[in-house]
Symmetry: C2
Subunit: 321 residues, 2 copies
């Protein structure tokens, strides 16, 4: 949780002159998002979010991300819609950073998703995949197997300080995934970070999907594997197969999976667990104690990885046979 | 800036069952306020703020603070109005802390108040003093001269690490203020912390005054002295007498000052500067590098104190002769 960049009233007012949103009624830094500075913005026209992109999001990726939000919104996905400036730009500069205004989404993120919510998010993910299938832009997944190698290399020497044997685990897991990583699965735009805190619910239904700043083109089934990791484990580390079954069966009711996708689920789930284990481990080992950021525990994903290592097939995740 | 206490969707929904606000549309931790956890809350009924009182605010003081907001709101002061629960309670428990919901105020806080804003805030402060004059409850100022003594005692041994000679300065300044502190000035409810970030403006007018958690009964002129410190110095440390004149003349146009109040301004300004110097110094010396809080620079108030030490009378602050 953090606001990195402070925006003064005068800076805000001159920024907003480029938009057609009327006078500002309220502007508040939001204590969420660890990558960007986020603000709640209320104007005479309505409620919005203003995001200042800090160093992790590259300005050259913004056409992909913001264009995707427009594309998905037009197809009925409840995601934020960028508010273009009077000159039609999707973002402009504020305090030396690219800054975009998007529409406000209603809803609450579930702290502990229940079975019904897991089903709803499965269906929403499938709708997202279908809606994005004709998106024309392309962005590679920087955090797939090739991207894990430098993370393993930089984390391995100090990983055992976090958990006994973790250094060896990430090295051998990477090696195994490099060998077994599937190719040729159905691909398209994936969210790649669909955690409960990136989804809103209202009245039990998905009312918002957001934080698309890891979105990229990759296998749809990898996105499912990320979601299984993010939604279907209990706080004690146990996999909840009932939640997994709900997520998978609601997904496939919207977009059927190929046999190859089903067969690949265990290895994709291992990969997804390693991806979050590595980025959290990297952030943990390189955390700045002065920064206003809560660093997430990497060990949670080591526990999940251990489960996936023991999985015998898609049935282990609740795939309905 | 900080959110100390995290509130889950389920905790929030059960808390709100006690209120008549309809379903939640949005709930966001706000990155402001260093003493409490603050959330933006949007429901079917409107926009609100939810505050969880952390350790600094004592639950036994809440009737004074929240009752004051009701009292002032009823008299037209643009401050937050507590939303009472169905059982008429002004606050209830959430995550083990007292929690209150108040109405949402529109406006922006000025980063660099201009002369006109200094005048407006002077008039608003005078209206606040008049509106609070018939408030029945009483709360002593815990951060007046008696309250500074333990702060001086605890900070003095390490103060020179912050600025050369600071230890001696706070000891001698406290001694002088103990001797010269005025008694018998007109008293009533004062805000006691009226900084620009506790005031909203819209269209050049004061649209909101908030953060009353230092409010207490004390000399009105001391509140003016706090405001002179908070509003009328430039970032380089220079006192801006034009801003001071605007603040003072707009104040007295609403509530005339007695001769004793005018004469006391320099010593009250010294006291106000010492008060913020001491609390900032205390926070600085005892800061927790892991806490998600930005500690304010105490030296800013040493500079202000030096100005006040050289003041020859109210005219030094722009008091219109």
């Amino acid at each position: 949780m953090a606001v990195y960049t402070d925006v003064s009233d005068t800076d805000l007012n001159s920024f907003l002159e480029a938009f057609d949103l009327g006078a500002v009624l309220s502007f508040k830094g939001i204590a969420e998002g660890v990558e960007n500075s986020n603000f709640f913005l209320k104007t005479e026209r309505g409620s919005y979010f203003l995001t200042l992109y800090e160093k992790r999001v590259q300005e050259e990726d913004l056409p992909y991300f913001l264009g995707l939000l427009e594309h998905l919104s037009a197809r009925g996905i409840p995601c934020p819609l960028p508010v273009r400036a009077r000159d039609r730009k999707q973002w402009r500069s504020l305090n030396g950073r690219p800054a975009a205004i998007v529409t406000f989404l209603s809803g609450l993120s579930p702290r502990k998703p229940d079975v019904q919510q897991c089903g709803e998010v499965g269906a929403a993910l499938a709708r997202l995949h279908l809606a994005g299938s004709d998106y024309l832009f392309h962005r590679a997944n920087a955090l797939s197997v090739q991207g894990w190698k430098p993370l393993v290399k930089s984390c391995e020497p100090r990983a055992n300080a976090v958990a006994m044997g973790l250094g060896q685990t990430i090295v051998s897991e990477l090696r195994l995934l490099e060998e077994r990583w599937p190719a040729g699965l159905p691909e398209g735009v994936i969210h790649a970070d669909l955690f409960p805190d990136n989804v809103f619910f209202m009245d039990g239904k998905v009312s918002g999907i957001f934080d698309f700043y890891f979105a990229c083109n990759d296998a749809f089934a990898y996105d499912i594997a990320v979601a299984l990791n993010a939604w279907c484990f209990e706080p004690d580390g146990a996999y909840n197969i009932t939640k997994g079954r709900a997520l998978l069966s609601c997904y496939r009711a919207v977009r059927p999976l190929t046999g190859a996708e089903v067969a690949a689920l265990p290895v994709l789930a291992r990969g997804a667990a390693l991806r979050f284990l590595l980025t959290r481990l990297h952030d943990w080992l390189n955390r700045d104690p002065r920064a206003l950021v809560t660093v997430k525990d990497p060990v949670e994903y080591l526990t999940k990885l251990r489960f996936h290592q023991g999985a015998t097939g898609a049935a282990s995740y609740g795939w309905p046979s």
